[in-house]
C-alpha cells in the first residue's frame, strides 16, 4: 500500500504517518503521548518511549467541570517531559477519539507543534510495529505557565452557541442521538440527558464519517464532500462542533481545523450533556436540523 500524501491537507504538519513516527521515535524533541478511552490499555503495551495521558484524571479540573487551569497544565506538561518547543505526537485507541481530545486541550494552552498519528494505536499494532510494556519515566522539564487557557478561539460555551445560530454547526453524535430517539449513545449510559434531540440548525455528521475503516482520516476530497458539501458548511468562516461530552467532536474539530483548514472552528465541549439538560435552551428533534430560535 502506498503511503498517503499528507500534503493534501490544509495543515499537513498536523498529521503524521506511522512511518514518520517510527523514524522519529528517538528524536529528542519528539514526545509521544498515548491517550486512550480504556485507561488500562497503555499498560498492556504501547509505542516505545510513549507517555500515557489519562484523559479522565489528567486533563480535567477535579472540582469544576472544566479543564486544567494554566498553572496545573504547566505542572502536568512538566511532569510528562514536555517543553514549549516539543513536537507532540498524540495517538490512541478507537480511531484516536481521546487522542484528538487531548490534542485539542493542549491547543487551548497555546502549545504550537501538535500532531496526530494517522490511524492511531490500531494501525501501529496492525502493522506489526514494536510495542513495549516498559514504562519510561519522563525527565522532568520546566514548562512555563501559559499566559492563559484560551477559551475563545477554539472553544465554545453555550452562550457562544446561542450567538452562533445562523452559522454552520455540526452534531457528530450517532443518528439516533441526533434525532432524539435515544438520550444516550449505545454503551454510554450515564452520560445521558433529560431530553433527546439536537441543537437547532445543527447538521448531523457522525464523527466516524471522517475515518476510513483502518482509523486513518479520509482524503481531503472525501472530507470536503462530507462537510463542505453535504453538511453545508460551505465556505463559512465560523463552525462549531459538538457531541455528548466534547471528545468525539474533538475528532471532528481536528478535521475541520487542520485537515480542511476552516479559519475559525470551535468545539462546544459542554455538548449534549449540558445542552440537553439545561433550562431554557431550545432543542430540535427528528432528522431535520430545525429552525434557529427567535431571539
Amino acid at each position: 500500500m502506498t503511503e498517503k500524501d499528507l500534503s493534501q491537507y490544509a495543515n499537513p504538519e498536523a498529521l503524521v504517518s506511522t512511518d514518520w513516527l517510527a523514524e522519529h521515535l528517538n528524536d529528542p524533541n519528539v514526545v509521544v503521548l498515548e491517550s486512550n478511552e480504556d485507561v488500562l490499555l497503555f499498560e498492556t503495551g504501547h509505542i516505545p518511549s510513549a507517555v500515557k495521558i489519562d484523559w479522565h484524571t489528567d486533563l480535567n479540573d477535579p472540582v469544576t467541570r472544566d479543564f486544567l487551569d494554566a498553572e496545573a497544565f504547566a505542572e502536568f506538561a512538566s511532569s510528562k517531559g514536555i517543553s514549549p518547543d516539543s513536537t507532540l505526537v498524540f495517538y490512541g485507541d478507537k480511531s484516536n477519539w481521546w487522542a484528538a481530545y487531548a490534542l485539542w486541550v493542549f491547543t487551548l494552552f497555546g502549545h504550537q507543534d501538535l500532531r496526530l498519528l494517522d490511524g492511531g494505536r490500531a494501525k501501529w499494532i496492525d502493522e506489526g510495529r514494536e510495542v513495549t510494556t516498559e514504562v519510561r519515566t519522563p525527565q522532568r522539564t520546566q514548562y512555563p505557565v501559559p499566559a492563559q487557557r484560551d477559551d475563545q478561539t477554539f472553544r465554545a460555551f453555550r452562550e457562544d452557541v446561542m450567538d452562533h445560530f445562523g452559522k454552520p454547526m455540526i452534531d457528530v453524535r450517532s443518528g439516533p442521538e441526533y434525532t432524539g430517539e435515544v438520550t444516550v449513545a449505545a454503551g454510554m449510559e450515564g452520560e445521558g440527558a433529560l431530553r433527546g434531540g439536537h441543537i437547532p440548525t445543527a447538521a448531523s455528521v457522525p464523527w466516524g464519517s471522517a475515518a476510513n475503516e483502518d482509523g486513518t482520516f479520509k482524503s481531503r476530497a472525501e472530507l470536503e464532500e462530507i462537510y463542505t458539501q453535504q453538511a453545508g458548511v460551505g465556505q463559512a468562516d465560523e463552525v462549531i462542533a459538538y457531541c455528548r461530552i466534547g471528545e468525539r467532536s474533538s475528532h471532528t474539530w481536528f478535521v475541520l481545523q487542520h485537515l480542511l483548514g476552516y479559519p475559525n472552528v470551535r468545539n462546544y465541549d459542554g455538548s449534549w450533556t449540558e445542552w440537553g439538560n439545561a433550562v431554557r435552551l431550545p432543542i430540535a428533534v427528528g432528522e431535520e436540523p430545525g429552525e434557529a430560535p427567535r431571539r
Binding site: 488500562l40 498492556t44 454503551g187 449510559e189 450515564g190
Partner: protein, 152 residues
C-alpha cells in the same frame, strides 16, 4: 468491612484486595485480573458471536454465556472480550472469579452496587464502572429467565 458484608466469599476477597492497596495500585490490580480472564473454551471457539450474547452497555465488545447445572443449581459464567479492552476484561474477570460456579440464588443475591465497592471511582469514569454493573445485571437477568423457563 461494610463493602463486603453481603458478598460471597471470593468476591469478598477480591474487594478486600482492592481496598488493601493505594488508588494507583488498584488499576494495576484490575490489569492483573484482566490478564487472568480465562480463554474462551473451545466449544465456543469459532462462532462465539452466535453462541454468546453481547452486553451492549459495555464500551467495548463483551460477550457473555451462562452454562446452567440444574441439578446443583449452579451457573458457570463465560466471558469474552478483546485484548484491546483490558478494563472490560478486568470487570469480566472479577465477575468470573467471584461468581462462576455459585448457586443461582447466591448470584442473584449479589448487590447491584458491586461496581461501586472496589474504590475505583476516582480512577475510572462512572460510565465505565456502569459497564460492570450492566454485566452483572445481564448475568442475573439470564439466570432469572432460565429459572422462569424451568418453572414454566
Amino acid at each position: 468491612m461494610t463493602e463486603t458484608a453481603d458478598l460471597p466469599q471470593t468476591l469478598t476477597e477480591i474487594v478486600e484486595d482492592f481496598h488493601a492497596v493505594s488508588e494507583r495500585e488498584r488499576l494495576e490490580l484490575l490489569l492483573e485480573l484482566s490478564r487472568e480472564l480465562p480463554e474462551l473454551p473451545e466449544t465456543y471457539g469459532g462462532n462465539y458471536h452466535e453462541q454468546m450474547e453481547q452486553v451492549v452497555e459495555c464500551q467495548s465488545p463483551l460477550f457473555l454465556a451462562v452454562e446452567y447445572d440444574d441439578d446443583a443449581n449452579t451457573a458457570q459464567l463465560i466471558f469474552s472480550a478483546p485484548a484491546e479492552a483490558p478494563t472490560t476484561r478486568g470487570f469480566a474477570s472479577i465477575l468470573q472469579q467471584g461468581l462462576s460456579g455459585l448457586t443461582y440464588q447466591q448470584i442473584l443475591d449479589v448487590p447491584d452496587d458491586l461496581h461501586q465497592r472496589m474504590g475505583l471511582a476516582k480512577a475510572i469514569t462512572p460510565l465505565r464502572l456502569r459497564g460492570m454493573s450492566a454485566m452483572l445485571g445481564r448475568v442475573k437477568h439470564n439466570i432469572r429467565q432460565h429459572q422462569g423457563q424451568r418453572a414454566g
